[in-house]
């Protein structure tokens, strides 16, 4: 193994800076006392955060994001955990490979295509411009992350426990709840977090199928960016980033120091 050269270390620091530094630019702007987005800021104030927490459309979009995110995460976690367990039990073969490929589809389809397709299809059954439609869409988009995370969590699971529990007379749902779930709960929780984060940050599908009443936080931000670039957008960006960092920290804590 080669000793790492100073140049390589310096380069890596630069790449990491490139990744993280742009995220910081909105922080001073969000605390600016002025209305123009220039640095250095003329003075500091909390007026844009006050604006965020009093303006009706920012509050309602935050509420929509939370409602959609929590529901989508709950459904995706339920469905995804069951699917992962099913895949874990299934004999490896064409059938389980097909199921896994199908469940990974939301990752591969470009989100604009998924958005347009859902817009056309949901319009036929009256699901566009409804929170239920948005929850369904985000459930599908988040599902693959739950399946993959829980499948990874099941890798160390000893299947003989299943036979042991069944031979002692435990019905399937009890085996699942008392034997399997306690052992894979960190993976399930990590999957749920990722599902929530996926929904909370999702913009493209919401752009197509949400009406103004269902605007989520990213959708409201985009509307703001397109009409008038006010520092409230920076405040919203900071709050969204803090939420992401919180979710990331929880996710890291759940999956342990493996850095998975």
């Amino acid at each position: 193994m080669f000793a790492m050269s100073v140049a390589l270390r310096g380069y890596t620091v630069l790449v990491l800076l490139f990744l993280v530094a742009p995220l910081l630019v909105v922080v001073p702007l969000s605390f600016s006392s002025g209305e123009v987005l220039t640095l250095p800021v003329p003075g500091f104030s909390l007026r844009w955060y006050a604006d965020f927490f009093t303006a009706g459309r920012w509050l309602s979009s935050t509420r929509n994001s939370l409602v959609v995110g929590l529901h989508a995460a709950a459904f995706a976690t339920l469905l995804g955990t069951l699917a992962a367990f099913g895949l874990f039990l299934a004999r490896p073969g064409t059938r389980s490979r097909t199921v896994l490929a199908l469940l990974s589809l939301p990752l591969v389809v470009p989100s604009v295509i998924a958005g347009v397709a859902m817009y056309f299809a949901f319009a036929m059954v009256g699901l566009t411009s409804t929170l239920a439609g948005l929850i369904l869409a985000h459930t599908v988009l988040a599902l693959p992350y739950v399946v993959v995370t829980v499948l990874a969590g099941l890798q160390g699971f000893d299947r003989t426990q299943l036979r042991a529990a069944t031979s002692l007379g435990a019905p399937f749902h009890l085996v699942l709840r008392r034997v399997v779930l306690p052992q894979i709960s960190p993976a399930v929780a990590a999957g749920a977090l990722f599902a929530f984060a996926t929904s909370f940050d999702e913009l493209i599908v919401a752009l197509f199928i949400a009406g103004p009443e269902q605007f989520t936080l990213p959708r409201q931000m985009l509307a703001g960016l397109r009409e008038f670039l006010s520092p409230t957008i920076c405040a919203a960006a900071v709050l969204l980033t803090l939420m992401s960092l919180l979710l990331l920290a929880l996710h890291q804590a759940l999956l342990g120091p493996k850095g998975k």
Binding site: L23, V25, L105, L107, V116, A121
Partner: protein
């Protein structure tokens, strides 16, 4: 696993099929003028139809106009041949008397032209290749033959090429920037490696829109980047950074870089460091070791990262839309525009179908040509 499969099928697979069907569906004429459509379908298509068809058209046009139900149809026909909207609306509003096969051509000579009626007959069939043809810069001529679009109308070939070029540029840049950094992260001591990985994960978890917003502000004419360049004396006047291809590439590489770094780190961590000593003891130079041992072993990570970055980049919408100029927009922007602004769902469906096909083709080609690149567990969260 069946409930999950059912939800994916109902909420994604079925919509994708609906979207594909939208690309070839042609419902407008049948919906607005059902009797005329039936007569047109029964007609053999030679010359002009019979008086009954003229009469049905005149009557139904008038009735539909009274109910303001001609919007979708006139949009559809005008899309195929400009001028059809006016032709249709004038006929709908005129006071006509039988025989209509005389009255309509008297109103406008185009009603006496077989090409007009051939066009109406094609629109009455319920399915049309028109949108898919237009999406590949072809057109249906007056006689029904498939012809090339004139050069100034042939926009979609250039659009797909541009999207492909931007996606490939972003992929290449991301891989080049990521490779040395991934190499370094894979070699750091566990504590530092964890810190570096978390720093890579931070932007990965932060919403793409938030990251694009950051670039949108950074690259403004009076923005922080220009201010820094002016202060450093690199330039004496603010540069046009935003709404350029440069802005699109920088912002997209920033958004997609974690997807390139993380799979590479994963693969590079599994490369046995003793191989370097083995290579050195056999007389290999550092360059030979890199080229003959390390690079081939790290290629699966490069392949996985490259594929993910490319697949995400080719469908990018929000970043080019916000920081790019008019000539930096990708296919997705046109799909969104046709869906929500111009309400031409046929074109939106056709472009979406082609984009999906192109994405699948490039990925399949990459997997086929370079079996070593074949990724395992693609799309797994890092």
């Amino acid at each position: 696993m069946m409930p999950a499969v059912l939800v994916v099928v109902l909420a994604l697979v079925v919509p994708l099929l609906v979207s594909a069907a939208t690309a070839v569906r042609d419902p407008e004429l049948r919906a607005a003028l059902p009797r005329t459509a039936a007569l047109l379908r029964a007609w053999d298509g030679h010359g002009l139809p019979e008086e009954a068809t003229f009469a049905a058209l005149a009557g139904e046009l008038r009735a539909a106009e009274a109910e303001q139900a001609l919007g979708a149809l006139s949009r559809r026909l005008n899309f195929e041949r400009s001028g059809m909207r006016g032709l249709l609306l004038r006929a709908a509003r005129a006071e006509l008397v039988a025989p209509y096969s005389m009255a309509l051509p008297a109103l406008d000579p185009r009603w006496g032209a077989p090409a007009t009626w051939a066009l109406l007959r094609r629109a009455a069939l319920g399915v049309t290749p028109l949108y898919l043809l237009r999406a590949v810069d072809l057109d249906i001529a007056a006689d029904g033959a498939v012809v090339m679009q004139p050069a100034e109308e042939a926009v979609f070939g250039r659009l797909f090429l541009r999207s492909l070029v931007i996606a490939l540029q972003v992929t290449l840049l991301a891989l080049l920037v990521a490779y040395p950094a991934a190499y370094a992260i894979a070699r750091l001591s566990p504590g530092w490696a964890r810190l570096a990985t978390v720093l890579v994960l931070v932007p990965f978890w932060v919403s793409i829109l938030v990251r694009t917003t950051a670039w949108f502000i950074l690259l403004q004419r009076e923005g922080p980047l220009n201010a820094a360049l002016l202060a450093l004396g690199v330039t004496d006047h603010p540069l046009q950074l935003i709404f350029t291809r440069f802005a699109v590439l920088v912002a997209m590489v920033h958004v997609l870089l974690p997807f390139a770094i993380l799979p590479m780190v994963g693969v590079m961590k599994r490369i046995d460091p003793r191989l370097a000593r083995a290579a050195a003891s056999l007389g290999a130079t550092r360059w030979q070791h890199f080229r003959r041992v390390y690079l081939p072993l790290s290629l699966p990570g490069v392949g996985a990262g490259g594929l993910i970055v490319f697949m995400l980049a080719i469908g990018f919408y929000i970043t080019p839309a916000l920081v790019g100029g008019n000539t930096d927009q990708m296919v997705s922007a046109f799909i969104a525009d046709y869906t929500t602004t111009t309400l031409n769902w046929g074109m939106a469906g056709a472009l979406a179908l082609l984009l999906l096909a192109m994405t699948a083709a490039v990925v399949a080609l990459a997997l086929l040509l370079v079996p070593r690149l074949r990724p395992r567990g693609i799309g797994a969260p890092p």
